[in-house]
């Protein structure tokens, strides 16, 4: 870590380098690309959530004028499977369909309309199988198997001490069962892209948003049975992903189609409905959460049992459950723990990576239980959390030492001193029935990076190019989080340049080095380290080059000017000399993530965490059941803020997304079929549904293993807000919700069922109930 010196860019709120072109709409996303002479693709999806395929006949579709090709599993020459953690998802189903988004055939045609008509002409015979739509029942003996190996996709657990003893030593023990809903990423940019097969070079180029272009390249090549070198993937910029473009979406379809269009480009764009049905979701969870504490609030024992509904395929369900396990303890010290979880295959769509990655679910349960414990003990909920908050060097609930930075205590102290928290009782009096005011708090720690045993590395190149511009190359992508601006800041700072002297090239398997996946809140930390090291390396290269060609004694001044005896030498001049000599002036930077000393498989545990506390106030209308989030205070520990404005943006968006998880959004399914797979009935919040006010206070507890002390906060800012709102609703009306979202229907039904809760008593007092 560098010591605190004056910085020019780091720690400054700087507008996004891509902000203007995004605001004006000038920026072209990969889904905007329409090459001349393109064919148009369509995907035939499964007609049933669970069925055996008896026959596929494409003759009629092929005969339709304007159809260029119709492809089935027979055209998949390599491995007809994909999947990040284990490839169990068919590219094109050969014998069985397991969810309604399963792809059975592909069509390319002269127009999208013809392609759509052709889909209707493909005949697929099915033997319908019983639908598995409940994850707990899926795991019972005798349940119809979704996969030949059975429905248990993943099982893992961690333990520390002796929970039986811990509960025996507790003065208060509280346990409850919680449920979470299926949740959609609902990114603005629907999956769309273009591919072309260059018959001369033999290379297929795929332009399609994806969170890890190098892994997409590998999965495409594996399905084609090709050398990855022959597959060129361009994956950035992305119009929103939130984890939903981590797994392969349509990249393999694009590549397959491009092989059968005689060198013509092929474009494929899903519909919103198709995107909702076929794409990744956030797992519904069933969580039995039990915790015990001593009279003074000291946490004693924690026992958690979870089942997640993975849907039809594995993708990242194992790692997601692992993070739920890891996150279940919260950022607290526990002497005795037993945490266990299973992921079940069902026919309910398929679930995978989603911002928060499993911690969202276990934090939602745990932070309510901890609040209940505080209530039972008559303790201030923040004091309870402070009493148990982790410190650097503590042994985690999984028995490993957390030797990285820990800022949870600092976030809690900001919350405790906040106006929102201090005035929480006083403000109650401003509201009369049917309106009730309440304030809640919750904290989280979010594992960052890929975790134990999973290769976690990042590379970056920094080149001085013609005209004196420094070009930073990263394999990571921009999906709206603002990382490109942060990379620019870090490179410019390390080289002493202005922001405008640095340009970023991202997410292209031919142009950029492998920087790993843009997930797991890892970019600022991992890629940021690689970029900074590459920039520092370039600085050395430049100094050596200048010494060699213009002699010793130059000093590098801000703005990239080398000076000696009043004579200055600019970067453009240096670049010109290098070009004339055929020399490439490049710095390379690499970083490998540190690892924990314990190993529970599939990335469990991590060694680095981001921390966040959020406070929310709500106004509940006990007649209409509507919950309005009034104010939110979001307090992430960023290690060190590279771009405070960027963090505020992430925090605002995270809060809105998490509030909607608590109150509004739910993917509804019935018998393996989607009920509200469109934006008419899958209700996203609009601007007027957002909290009235969101404030972000950034806490900085520098992380020693980062070049500037930074850590990622992209996920943690969306997690505690949901239980904070649940706790605020309890504070307001005296009812706990063990199921989300807390819709007006659920809230009013709960009021009717709890005539003795504090809200109902107050309502009766004024003749409103």
């Amino acid at each position: 870590m560098t010591t605190e010196t004056a910085t020019r860019h780091i720690g400054k709120s700087i507008s996004r380098v891509d902000g203007l072109e995004k605001t004006t709409g000038e920026l072209k996303y990969l889904s905007d690309l329409l090459l001349e002479n393109s064919c148009h693709g369509k995907v035939l999806r499964a007609a049933h959530p669970h069925a055996r395929i008896t026959r596929i006949d494409t003759a009629k579709a092929e005969a339709l004028p304007g159809v260029v090709c119709v492809l089935t599993h027979r055209h998949v020459r390599g491995l007809n499977r994909f999947g990040i953690a284990q490839p169990d998802m068919p590219v094109l189903c050969e014998d069985k369909v397991r969810y309604v988004g399963d792809a059975v055939a592909l069509v390319a045609a002269e127009t999208e309309e013809i392609a759509k008509d052709a889909l209707a002409l493909i005949e697929v015979g099915y033997d319908v199988l019983p639908v598995v739509d409940d994850p707990e029942r899926a795991l019972e003996p005798g349940a119809p198997p979704v996969h030949a190996k059975g429905n248990l996709l993943h099982e893992n657990g961690v333990a520390k001490g002796d929970v039986a003893r811990g509960f025996a030593e507790s003065d208060v023990v509280i346990g409850h069962r919680f449920r979470t809903q299926m949740y959609a990423h609902a990114f603005l940019e629907i999956e769309a892209g273009t591919a072309i097969h260059d018959e001369k070079t033999g290379v297929i180029t795929v332009w399609c948003a994806g969170q890890y272009p190098y892994r997409d390249q590998l999965q495409i090549a594996r399905a084609l049975g090709w050398d990855p070198e022959k597959v060129h993937v361009i994956a950035s910029p992305i119009g929103g992903a939130f984890g939903g473009k981590d797994e392969i979406t349509i990249q393999i379809y694009l590549a397959l189609l491009a092989l059968h269009t005689q060198g013509r480009p092929v474009r494929l764009q899903l519909t919103r409905e198709e995107s909702m049905e076929a794409g990744t979701k956030r797992h519904p969870f069933i969580i039995d959460f039990k915790a015990g504490a001593a009279k003074d609030g000291t946490f004693k024992a924690l026992e958690v049992e979870m089942v997640s509904d993975a849907g039809a395929y594995a993708t990242l369900s194992g790692p997601v459950m692992n993070l739920a396990i890891e996150g279940a303890s919260g950022p607290y010290l526990w002497p005795h723990t037993k945490i266990h979880g299973r992921a079940a295959y069902t026919n309910n769509g398929f679930s995978g990576a989603f911002r928060g990655f499993g911690t969202t679910q276990s934090c939602y349960a745990g932070e309510q239980i901890f609040d209940m414990i505080a209530g039972q003990l008559g303790m201030d909920p923040i004091d309870l959390r402070l009493k148990n908050a982790l410190r650097r060097g503590d042994i985690s609930a999984m028995n490993h030492e957390i030797w990285t930075s820990v800022g949870i205590r600092e976030t809690l102290l900001v919350a405790k001193e906040s106006r929102l928290w201090r005035e929480r009782h006083a403000r109650r009096g401003e509201f009369a029935p049917p309106l009730f005011y309440g304030v809640g708090v919750a904290s989280e720690f979010q594992a960052t990076g890929l975790g134990k045993g999973i290769p976690d590395f990042a590379g970056s190149h920094c080149d001085l190019e013609a005209g004196g511009t420094v070009v930073v190359r990263v394999g990571g992508i921009e999906m709206g989080t603002g990382v490109m601006t942060a990379y620019c800041q870090m490179a410019a700072e390390a080289l002493g340049l202005g922001m405008e002297q640095v340009r970023i090239v991202a997410g292209d398997t031919e142009e950029t080095p492998d920087s790993g996946t843009t997930t797991a809140s890892r970019s600022i930390y991992m890629i940021g380290n690689a970029v900074t090291r590459a920039a520092k390396a370039l600085r050395k290269v430049l100094e050596a080059f200048v010494a060699e060609h213009w002699g010793d004694g130059h000093t590098l001044e801000p703005g990239g000017v080398f000076r000696r005896d009043g004579v200055s030498l600019g970067l453009a001049q240096i670049a010109q000399r290098a070009a004339s000599l055929g020399t490439r002036l490049r710095g390379e930077g690499h970083f490998v993530h540190p690892e924990a000393d314990k190993d529970f498989g599939d990335g469990l545990p991590h060694i680095m965490y981001s921390y966040c506390t959020q406070v929310a106030s709500v106004i509940v209308d006990a007649e209409t059941g509507e919950v309005r989030v009034d104010e939110v205070l979001s307090i992430p520990d960023a290690g060190r803020a590279i771009n405070p404005q960027g963090i505020e943006g992430q925090s605002d968006g995270g809060v809105v997304m998490g509030a909607s998880y608590a109150l509004l959004e739910e993917v509804l399914m019935k018998g393996g079929r989607f009920v509200n797979a469109n934006f008419t009935n899958y209700t996203l919040p609009t601007a007027v549904d957002c909290p009235r006010r969101i404030d972000t206070v950034i806490v900085e507890v520098p992380e020693p293993t980062h070049e500037w002390g930074a850590k990622g906060i992209g996920e943690t800012v969306t997690v505690p807000i949901c239980p904070a709102i649940c706790n605020a609703v309890y504070d307001a009306i005296g009812i706990r919700f063990f199921e989300i979202p807390i819709t007006p229907e659920r809230l009013t039904a709960a009021l009717d069922a709890n005539p003795e809760c504090k809200a109902m008593r107050a309502m009766r007092g004024v003749g409103l109930a």
């Binding site: 059941g625 549904d689 229907e745 009013t748 003749g767």
Partner: protein
């Protein structure tokens, strides 16, 4: 069936003869006004017209006309017009209040009153106000013009009284007196771009001693069409409005409807909201 034709008639006569000719040929023709229902439904396959008749050239249909006692709205009058018109603010405020809660600015600019009447959705937000205003729908074809009260125009979920060769010309209703209060409330899953779970429009005139002299209470989304709470109206008519009477009215109204549970809400919640909206509306008059 695929779309086979797209007409852009320049005059009313031309429009009517196209509609008549298409009806005689047995082709399903849909009038295209703002398109905010047509485009959505065609894409979803819920509506499969063989021809579209676009009526953008019929500028007369975009007028709000005021006579001494009545107001006439052309079928192409948009939500945005209703929100900003002085005539509406003065004589039919309930339409402006409801329009403000429709969609968002884009839909308010495109969507029309003719489209509300043509779609005849149980959740059409202008329909409860039009029923409360006792508006008449004016429909015309080559055979002549008819007037149908909105209540009988709306026949079921997505079903209206329009004949295949008819163009909706607009609606007409008597001006609301200055002493009459307009009430509007909409509950949806969110606060904008929201499909009503329950909506409520009312026109109520009280005497100086709060005796109910005129009352129309209409609910949307709790029956197959926008529907008056007839029993509750009868309970309140001629009575002096008191907290006790309001409580009684709330109970009566809740029992008047048998709403359904669907993906947007539950029967219990809808019924509760009928009572809450009525109570809050009436209390605001005290």
């Amino acid at each position: 069936m695929k779309l086979q034709g797209y007409h852009t008639p320049k005059t009313l006569e031309e429009t009517l003869s196209i509609l008549d000719a298409e009806a005689k040929r047995g082709r399903s023709a849909a009038v295209l006004a703002g398109g905010t229902d047509v485009m959505v439904r065609m894409r979803e396959g819920r509506m499969r017209p063989e021809v579209l008749v676009q009526i953008e050239a019929l500028s007369d249909l975009a007028a709000i006309d005021e006579s001494a006692a009545a107001i006439r709205l052309g079928a192409r009058v948009s939500f945005a017009q209703l929100m900003t018109s002085k005539v509406i603010a003065q004589h039919a405020e309930v339409l402006a209040l409801a329009s403000r809660d429709v969609g968002a600015p884009q839909i308010q600019s495109r969507g029309t009153i003719g489209g509300q009447l043509g779609t005849a959705s149980p959740v059409g937000d202008l329909l409860p106000p039009l029923v409360a205003l006792e508006a008449e729908v004016i429909a015309r074809s080559v055979d002549g013009e008819r007037r149908v009260p909105v209540e009988s125009w709306l026949r079921g979920v997505g079903v209206c009284d329009r004949r295949p060769n008819e163009l909706i010309m607009g609606v007409e209703f008597r001006k609301v007196s200055a002493a009459t209060r307009s009430l509007w409330h909409k509950a949806g899953p969110r606060r904008a771009q929201s499909i009503s779970k329950v909506s409520f429009a009312a026109l109520i005139r009280l005497s100086a001693e709060r005796r109910v002299e005129h009352i129309r209470l209409v609910f949307g989304a709790v029956a197959v069409t926008a529907k008056r709470a007839a029993k509750t109206e009868a309970l309140l008519a001629g009575q002096v409005l008191t907290p006790a009477l309001i409580q009684q009215a709330q109970q009566t109204a809740m029992m008047e409807f048998t709403p359904i549970t669907d993906l947007r809400s539950t029967d219990a919640y809808r019924r509760r909201m009928v009572g809450v909206m009525l109570r809050r509306g009436l209390v605001s008059l005290l």
